[in-house]
Symmetry: D2
Subunit: 349 residues, 4 copies
């Protein structure tokens, strides 16, 4: 931590600041400039974070030096980390595409989707059983029955499943069926939930909150990792800005910034970021060009009949074309993309 | 819902759109302009919300007509609603000031605070037992013991207590001790939690999320109310914008907009909005001038020693001065503010 | 400037950074922590601002110490400065209300407005002759003829006039007619214009840009002041955020923050901030409660007929009521507000 | 325009709204739903835009139907338009890379840069002679002498030059030297300047303002086009959001949205969007993947010595590598990229 004093700070004020810092167990190093005095604080910065230093007389500004996240940082692990998801790994040379409907709406539609997306190279199946909806009057998922449908689709297709958990009371149940637990954008700072998913041994897909900074996202990952679960996949899915032409503003630059700051894998969700079918491909191609480790894309047998997010879902044909157009971008990014043939069905979880 | 077609839409496309709407059980009313055709949809708009109308061929834009919230709207109840909080009501002529520390740090500090704030006119005691913290390494509250300390402070001071609940598993316990359950900004779209606090019979103080629109806030209130709990107090506490000079950007205009849109009472939290002691008074006075029904202010016996939010907490003396300066603004807004004498200790909850 | 190095920086890298700073004519002061080395740079910080320090090997972050604005700062002048506007001063004990139509639409409407607003206590007359409009197809003002109409309204009413200048080629002409030159939000970083209005001897009303930070606003004021024109009035009028319920998001906290950072007077424009008539009063009262030195309010004889901004303009009756309701808030803020009687007509400019 | 009435609107109010619309010369079409009445307005929507319809009694909301821009729209020209820039065209199959220093700092550095960037495939030379700087104390360009240096670099290298104009008084002079006039982000709504560059016969490169919506950008282009100059190139360069990890938030999705809405070519500026050298490549590759027609990249012989924007400038070697890595992404996007050999020197302007 570096403390910069106001112009005209008194010796007494500097002494008080110094004492306050030292009483927290850090050493200080004082450097007097022509107008400002700078107090460097040496030692465990965390002890200073809670102190109201900004309110001490004579303090102009306070500058943290240490990054507030540790386990997620490149200093902790030079990385890149690879997070297993069924038979594949997210974060390696192979790009991983996760596809599936916004919500699980039934057995047939999910099995059909699993089959269709696997056939063109998807390596994970998404589908919501518990759905966060802005309105209490919207379809909020099939719940436990949705989980069972997902498990059957996995058994049949061999695709690992990724599904959201929204309630600390459901973590155990969802972890019993899913390969990857998704924490959604609206729960990214639901710290009770982060702590709970940190206690299970399933990988966690953590979506960036709509108003969360990159630093907030990394601190949310840190919550999970602090409990011992290091298998965290980060997902950029758009933030809230003044622009209304798209559902969210896709923060493309977050991908290379995250890759620089953390060893954790980073994927992108072009469906939620853009909110419209015609934006899925350009945003997805761009994410790969910018260095993303994978994608999560909404696919539905009949998007026009979808119970949620139909406007941003691709049908099977469009998804197949999309995967074909994705390949040269993957190659340009020096990554590989699975061919259509699905891998053999893996053993039960 | 109004559907506007693209320039050059065909008759077939218009027919398809019409059929899609009518198959959802609504009637349509078609109006042909010089360049655009407009399709008015008459009936239950909720049935249309989930349809991917924007993706139908020929559709340019879709305009909802009905407000998505019902129970929270002025159409449902002309209002204003008054929400009981101990012996007082939030939403009536009397402005209600809630004060107390960010976190409950111990018995003595809380009792001293309760006594001090009651003596100058506060009518509620805030204090966090479960604390949401951006970093997993920060102090996250005393938990159950904090609730017990709060209950004792109430018994002694007669002040109703307001405290945050962050986990669905804690709702019952917190409701057993608190007079008002606070749902924090980071959990404003934790729909599992909203549903759960909707099931208890305690008033709920719902803080606006950092990236939530006013409409999102009203839909979050709707979640609570849909479960039968109509006692919701809304709280503006700042949103996230590009401005970094303040912790958040206090959206002052949200207060009169909310008062126009909903019958629910609206209070403001100037401590979190500004993030600095010197901003508490101007933001609080402004909130009252703009029509707020009350305030929530962080007060601590020794802010410089606080375990959280010390930079934005007032000490007792400053809070007393603040309350005195607040009175003429309350009068200008044609509201009253409790005098210093606390009301008689009320019976146990 | 303080430079923080990366974990694992080498001695050579520190030496390079030091040499780079010293070659710019500053001294350095090196402090080695457990993980990071901190390089304090002592001397003229401006010389360092242009250096790409962040790109030097081993540099983690760079923290400016000096404020980038000088003439506008409290260090330069403890203030508060008072800016003359006709016979009154903005920034003194008296609150100054400027009122008038968005655009000058003709002689009669302006004279009627001048008379009406002066009668209830306004001390300045606003009205656009050159209008910035988002669409090239919208009414863009009467130009030179509008300036002449403004000048006649001043001669008759005694009210000083405030009008916008948008083009460097018009500065001299506008300064020949107006008492205060307004630089609008869209031109707040039109540096050629700022420089030009800095060269005339008229006060400048500088409106905050929609995406400008408080620091940007103060640097824009600095542009004007650097040319020798110290008579700058700042105006908060709302910023752009994700919230769509209001035209802009009124950044109320900017008022007390500006009052702390600068000696210049600060007023608010509640008409543009909210964009709706019913929001003018609550936003205006709040601005005064937060410490603003005045207000600029749109008033029109028949708002429903206005050629621009009719939705946010008050009619004479409503403005009169507004001024009456404003008085107790002015008193609560320990400010005075002019009574209805206009002051004697002042001599020609 | 569609007008939606409030619940409980009276017949009289509907009549008044209808009369107001019809008196502006449009026809109305009334559709009565169960709770709301919808008034469709048929005819020239522009005539309604200035009316304060939202303030009429009984009006709940107002929905424009027509796009406010015309000449820039796909309805006006199905496009895509190709804008000539020296010997090349922006908007065709060939991707156009413009490169050069932030500011022209001297003859030698510019000639060296022109030579270096042309050799690896750049097809335009950027360089600022007049520089907009947030601080009045920063280097603001060489002015007229900078223009002359640019002209010499063009004569020698054959590269067309792109340079910013900031003042209506300079448009003629800059147009006398430059092949493309750049209007910068801070002047995107400087309507006097837009009008003036619309009157010359040089292509205009229009950068998106930091808080401008996509619609605002298209309306700014419309200003230029309305004067008769249809040669407008749009440039996405990042917007202002709460995220501070990057200089701006690169709104990648704006590229495909613009390509859908307008026939004008769209390029991206990855240097300003990210603000750091290491972000230039990922953002540039992403822009091409998303459909951009070209790029503008800052290149400097010795970025560490640059007088402005050194942190985000590439040196010659890095730029050469960048161009090589760009080629496979161009191919994946089914575009071509010029090979290193520069085309023959073209005749004088």
């Amino acid at each position: 931590m570096i403390i910069v004093t106001k112009i005209g700070v008194t010796e007494d004020e500097v002494d008080q600041i110094r004492e306050r810092v030292e009483s927290a167990g850090l050493r200080t190093h004082i450097s007097r400039g022509e107008t400002h005095t700078i107090i460097g604080c040496i030692g465990e910065e965390d002890r200073l974070r809670r102190l109201p230093l900004l309110s001490l007389p004579g303090v102009e500004s306070v500058h943290p030096v240490m990054k507030p996240f540790k386990l997620a940082s490149r200093e902790f692990s030079a990385g890149p980390s690879r997070v297993p998801m069924g038979d594949v790994e997210v974060g390696g040379d192979e790009l991983v595409v996760i596809a599936g409907p916004c919500s699980v709406e039934g057995d047939d539609m999910l099995r059909a989707t699993a089959h269709a997306v696997a056939a063109v190279g998807a390596r994970g199946l998404r589908g919501g059983a518990f759905k966060p909806r802005t309105s209490p009057y919207a379809f909020n998922g099939m719940g436990t029955r949705g989980l069972e449908i997902l498990a059957r689709a996995r058994a049949e297709s061999g695709l690992p499943i990724i599904t959201e958990v929204m309630d600390t009371r459901h973590v155990e149940e969802v972890a019993g069926h899913a390969d990857v637990l998704q924490v959604g954008a609206r729960n990214m700072q639901n710290f009770a939930l982060l702590t709970e998913v940190g206690r299970v041994h399933r990988p966690v897909l953590l979506k960036r909150g709509m108003s969360s900074t990159i630093r907030d996202l990394l601190l949310a990952a840190e919550y999970v990792m602090k409990q011992g679960n290091m298998k965290v996949i980060l997902c950029e899915r758009g933030i809230r800005t003044f622009e209304t032409a798209t559902r969210n503003t896709f923060d493309l630059a977050a991908i290379p910034v995250l890759k620089r700051e953390t060893h954790l894998p980073v994927i992108a969700d072009p469906s939620h970021a853009g909110g419209r079918r015609d934006l899925v491909a350009p945003l997805a191609f761009a994410a790969i060009a910018a260095g993303a480790d994978g994608l999560m894309v909404e696919v539905h047998p009949t998007p026009d009949e979808a119970l949620s997010d139909g406007d941003q879902s691709l049908d099977f044909q469009t998804f197949g074309d999309f995967m074909n157009r994705l390949r040269p971008f993957a190659a340009a990014a020096e990554r590989t993309l699975a061919e259509g043939a699905p891998r053999p069905v893996r053993a039960a979880v």
